[in-house]
Amino acid sequence: MNIVVLVKQVPDTYSERTLRAADGILDRAATDPVLDEINERAVEAALQLTEAHGGEVTVVCMGPASAADSIRKALSMGADRAVHLSDDALAGSCAVQTARALAQVIGGLDHVDLVLAGNGASDGRVSAVPAMVADVLDLPALTHARQITVDGTTVTVRRETDRGAVGLTAELPALISVSEKINEPRYPSFKGIMAAKKKPVTQLSIAAAGIAAAEAGLASALTTVTSVVPRPPKSAGQKLTDGDGGAQIAVYLAAQKLI
């Protein structure tokens, strides 16, 4: 089965992240970019499926030129090839534009049985782009999967969220987003890292992907950020090292009418 994995480069959640005051766009230069952790799990899931059922894994990424590092990471884990949609005109795209652009790229690939993605990027928190891509491509969406089973042309997942677990089934082709619990991603081997350097990465501009310039980027986004205000840093309050800290907290909470 041929699998497309959507990956995204995000700022490291362990580094300070900043938004540009002028337009509210993430200041990517000011942060350490990494392959979003959940994407590694999606790549791992894709590799396990192709190891069991045959087929190839294609990584699809939309993002600036620097996202090449994240694509290499996915290739060094074992993905076969990548398509990198990268165009300055895409900067500032909203969630709807992003979903449509990704769908356009996937739609241009031959014979895709399954699209895999992480269930939510750590930077944007829309957490809906995979399902949105599925809606555009008319694929069943099986999201937040902690377990995937493929039997012939039927795919079954265990979907787990705060609301509990749901069993979902659909016919291929389909889209699956994976949760943190799906697997532990493998580390790229030295051989894998060397091999990744020779794997094909197709660079696509929006024109090459068939995306109209009038539909891409900040100017035509369906939503616009009108102001960005950093929250004033919270200052530390009282701190004590007494032996009766618990009682002191109770006094404080009572004074704040919290208990």
């Binding site: 992240r17 079954t156 509990g164 939503t223 618990g246 907290i249 919290l258």
Partner: protein, 315 residues
């Protein structure tokens, strides 16, 4: 005045509190119309509660479709077409975000996610765990807005509650079908993202067994239990309770951090809490930088002591 569609979130015949918040949050934009998608014979039973909380109109869409989340998307898409609402409001949850995203891309509507405040002209998001307040507008008619819990006070003024049976169209897309459901067993504690008090434990708790000290304090406060990523990674507590950038974002009245150092990763999930109380052995722990009240000490002494004090005060 324009309508605002509100997707009713319900479980076991009960309307979720978040829906009542949305009925109030909709007011700056228009008159709230509740949309109930439910199995045959069950939707109408929710109407009274919705009316009492301000619904002017109630669309009752009953269906025995077994596909997952797509009935809601199909019903809302049809109503967006027929009612031309000022906006569609959906409470933030895994299911809500997915329904909202699909509806937005299908109807060509701007998607405004995880909104904390709705104004007549714009909405406010909290970005990167509250490090920024971001105001945004949609450039399309009928924007789809997902709203965080706590965005509005639940109203007490009843609406007209005009009921309208609504057809559920056949699936507009290929779908995934539900084979079985296993509801979550919450153990009687409030839901993490909806709780007004959260007590969280970190690596300092030391083991899964010792998390009982966190749970006991939480129960004395009627609080939800959370955990830092370090505690989850160490296997002390299940991942669905993780607070932080890669877990839940919470914004309670009171957040109590026990044995949590307060890495950026964690702070991003809780720093908009109104009041933060921290207990940590390490006087240099970064959590103290954002704590309104900090105690440098052993959580295994401080937490039980606090629990006993609360019990005393409540008599």
């Amino acid at each position: 005045m324009a309508e605002v569609l509100i997707l009713v979130d319900h479980l076991d015949g009960q309307v979720k509190k978040s829906t009542y918040e949305l009925l109030a949050a909709a007011r700056p934009l228009g008159e709230p119309s509740a949309v109930v998608v439910a199995p045959p014979g069950t939707a109408g039973k929710l109407a009274d509660a919705l009316t009492q909380h301000g619904a002017e109109k109630i669309y009752l869409a009953e269906t025995d479709r077994t596909d997952f989340l797509t009935p809601e998307v199909d019903v809302l898409a049809a109503l967006v077409e027929s009612a031309s609402p000022a906006a569609v409001l959906i409470a933030v949850s895994a299911d809500g975000q997915e329904i909202a995203g699909r509806l937005a891309v299908r109807t060509g509507s701007g998607l405004l996610s995880e909104v904390v405040e709705i104004g007549p002209e714009s909405v406010t998001h909290s970005a990167f765990g509250g490090a920024y307040r971001v105001e945004a507008v949609a450039n399309t008619p009928h924007p789809v807005i997902t709203v965080r819990s706590g965005a509005a006070e639940i109203g007490s003024v009843a609406g007209a509650g005009a009921e309208q049976a609504t057809d559920v169209p056949p699936p507009a897309r290929r779908v995934a079908t539900v084979t079985d459901r296993e509801p979550v067993t919450g153990g009687g504690r409030p839901e993490l993202t909806e709780a007004s008090v959260v007590v969280s434990g970190g690596r300092g708790v030391g083991s899964a067994e010792q998390f009982a000290v966190v749970e006991e304090l939480a129960d004395s406060l009627g609080a939800a239990v959370g955990a830092s990523r370090a505690a989850v990674d160490a296997g002390y507590y299940p991942p669905q309770f993780q607070v932080g950038q890669t877990g839940k974002t919470v914004s309670p009245q009171l957040y109590v951090a026990l044995g949590i150092s307060g890495a950026i990763q964690h702070r991003a999930g809780m720093q908009t809490s109104k009041t933060v109380v921290a207990v940590n052995k390490d006087p240099e722990a970064p959590i103290f930088e954002i704590a309104d009240f900090g105690v440098v000490g052993d959580l295994f002494t401080v937490a039980p002591q606090l629990k006993d004090e609360i019990a005393k005060r409540r008599g």
